[in-house]
């Protein structure tokens, strides 16, 4: 078949379909490339940069790269890339306010899980302690802006029947924050609110009224590192 692409990741031989995003192709071959903003079959944002790999000696995000004949040898788990990813996790921990012990998403949080994966003991960067507000105006959702990591999943995925976004960015640069459309969010359905919480990789979007459903020990990342499911699949 002509649209089958052969490539390697850290020496492991992989195959994928031409045009398929590298991160998805890797997963199908049992190789975990960490992601925070990526969501399969949704237009890539390429915003969290944690999936940075090296292709032909160039840095590129695996969530935005469609594979083709030129992919060749992909570097993924090299010490250099692991350190870059660890640095990104650490950076996210200092630029936002991530108080894990107080967060409902703790144990199910992708950012925290990457902190575990890369054994972050303390961030190498100074804490910013910039305060952002908590938006609790919606009857269904808490939007805890202190925890947002700007992955844009909610912006890209949570829309009403007319295609209007419930979530959007506000400001830019250091003033950037996630915001929720007050009018639309006043009538958001339970299902959509739940979906918003589920796709949020951190604890920025929380559904009101229910909380802490999974006991400690039974949460997503209590016993196995993030990506284990992918790595075990092949």
């Amino acid at each position: 078949m002509s649209d089958t692409i052969k490539f390697t990741i850290d020496g492991k031989e992989c195959t994928g379909k031409k045009g398929q995003l590298l991160v998805d192709a890797a997963a199908e071959n049992g190789v975990y490339i960490p992601v925070l903003c990526h969501w399969k079959d949704v237009k890539p944002a390429g915003s969290c940069r944690i999936c940075t790999v090296k292709v032909n000696n160039r840095y590129v995000t695996a969530c935005t790269l469609p594979i083709d004949e030129n992919c060749g040898d992909v570097e993924n788990n090299t010490p250099e890339l692991q350190d870059i990813r660890k640095a990104i996790v650490e950076m996210l921990f200092v630029e936002g306010n991530h108080f894990c012990p107080a967060c409902e998403k703790s144990g199910d949080c992708d950012l925290q899980a990457l902190g575990y994966k890369y054994q972050m003991m303390v961030p190498r960067f100074p804490y910013a302690f910039e305060r952002r507000e908590l938006d609790a105006k919606s009857p269904k959702i808490f939007l805890e802006k202190n925890r947002c990591i700007f992955c844009k999943r909610c912006i890209r995925m949570i829309k009403d029947e007319k295609g209007r976004s419930y979530f959007a960015f506000k400001g830019r640069g250091k003033h950037l924050e996630i915001s929720m459309d007050e009018k639309l969010a006043a009538n958001i359905s339970d299902e959509l609110a739940q979906e918003a919480m589920d796709i949020c990789p951190v604890g920025a979007i929380l559904k009101k009224e229910v909380g802490f459903i999974n006991p400690i020990g039974k949460r997503k990342y209590d016993n196995e590192p993030i990506g284990s499911d992918i790595e075990k699949s092949k």
Binding site: P101, Q119, V122
Partner: protein, 182 residues
Amino acid sequence: MSKPIIATASLAGCFGCHMSLLDIDDRILKLIELVEFNKSPIDDIKTFTKQCDIGLIEGGCCNTENIEVLKEFRKHCKILISVGECAIMGGLPAMRNGIPVKECLDEAYLDGPTVGENKEKIMPNDEELPIITDKVYPLHEIVKVDYYLPGCPPSADLLWEALVALVTGKELEIPYELIKFD
């Protein structure tokens, strides 16, 4: 050879990390064989009586007393370890960071729903009291810290493994389940 000496303290913390240390259960007997405790709530020694090898500190710095104790620990301990989230990043007390300290004090002593009667609008200001700092500081922003043990609290197993590795000089291998931020 004399046993390594350990000192511990809880600054702006909840003593949860100390509780976790007690959670090593019967291993505490082994620990006593391995080390000697100096200044610590565990043996109730209030002041340093000698130079120590290891200082374990839980809690961040939220007032002048915390800072004084921390600096004293740095002076008296060869190795200083930040134990738990509060020591590492301020933890829950640091949720006030970014809010002006006056607002926090007003909420605590004047306006908050749990204040009760405070007709004279008294704020604690006796000179004997420690002074609240503008924010809660992680320990490593005040003094040099050598190691970090995350968790809220760090599990008893993590504390045990880390201490044993440190005093016996063994390589520390931490299983996945032991490194947690909550």
